[in-house]
Point group: C2
Chain length 218, copies 2
């Protein structure tokens, strides 16, 4: 065991260096956004940031590290924002109200951080990022599961998980439609995907409120 596991040498970084890193990450966000991970060249990222390739490699060991740092930053931000959004749901509110406020908050965040959506949806991203994203997705599923479980007390775990997955899937596909629109049209689409979710969930809740067990599907 020659060296400690994660923490490296105390590589002191000057203010200039911090600025460069931020600059490079922003440039990387742009380039990854427009060309995808594989097609983005490190030289292009350096050029976009207005520095030389050598400078880029002063701060990142390799191309993957750039994407990993960028995405983990975005995911951390998203985990905080979305986690908070899903956590402060009023459990006594109606399904319609919960959906309404929650969807508004989630969409608001994503509209303000379009890089995230663009970066994470490529099929050519390195494994590290895919894993992180899977973990993020999983944690969101779990939070939604908690919400669903609160609305469907006593429902089988498999049912709760399925409902949560479907809700997230509907939300994601709606997000894509919403992001492709603007103004009034965008609002109409937001309204529409809320309706989809509300109409999907309300019958489930009603069925469960009367003490009737699992939905009579299959």
């Amino acid at each position: 065991m020659p060296d400690n596991p994660q923490s490296e040498q105390p590589r002191r970084r000057q203010a200039r260096g911090e600025r460069r890193v931020a600059q490079l990450l922003e440039a990387a966000a742009n380039v990854f956004c427009t060309t995808g991970y594989t097609a983005a060249s490190t030289n292009a990222i350096a050029r976009e940031a207005g520095v030389s390739p050598g400078t880029l490699y002063q701060f990142f060991p390799n191309k993957e590290a750039i994407a990993v740092e960028l995405s983990s930053k975005l995911m951390h931000e998203m985990r905080e924002s979305h986690g908070e959004t899903l956590a402060l749901v009023d459990p006594a509110a109606s399904v319609a109200d919960v959906i309404d406020t929650t969807i508004d908050r989630l969409i608001d965040f994503t509209c303000r951080r379009p890089e995230f959506f663009a970066l994470v949806h490529g099929p050519d991203i390195p494994g590290r990022i895919a894993e992180e994203h899977d973990a993020l997705h999983l944690s969101m599923v779990q939070r939604v599961e908690e919400l669903v479980a609160a609305f469907l007390p006593g429902a089988p775990r498999a049912d709760v998980e399925r409902v949560a997955q479907v809700c997230l899937g509907v939300y994601k596909s709606g997000l894509e439609l919403v992001l492709a629109r603007e103004g009034a049209e965008r609002d109409a689409y937001v309204r529409e995907i809320k309706d989809v979710l509300i109409r999907y969930l309300e019958p489930l809740v009603e069925q469960h409120g009367s003490g009737t067990p699992a939905p009579a599907t299959h």
Copy 2:
């Protein structure tokens, strides 16, 4: 398909050549599927097909042409299958019945052709394919719009389009969830996404007047 309508030089092709083309397209489907378009190397495709790079270029002018031919073949197949599925919908049936049979057919097809889904969803595909796919998507939207319009007679065009887009979006996200499952779990997810669509559409239909949609005109 013995000849091309707007063909070029009369490049006669022997049976061996036809076999090679099919072999190469299949290999390309595999490689594109697993690595995406950009990361897939023509050498790898040739190797997968068991031929030399030179042989590959005997039959395709460049890498893009391979992807274009492969995808246009898949899209043609899909257009036929899905077009037929959406065309032979019984306009007198209930929303629930229409959704039930239609979703079953669409999902059946996609389960049998997983390459398509994998190939077309990359962000790094060449422009030609993206255009073709957009055209395919558009034609599907239009068919769904026709269906929706039949169920919502007199609804504004913008509303009909939005409903159609949302339906397709929900279907696609459901497809992703379904393809990631197997057996009984898959069936449960299929049932679930049908429910989402039915519960979304039924109130719209009822709201628009008579429960019986556009009767067979005259």
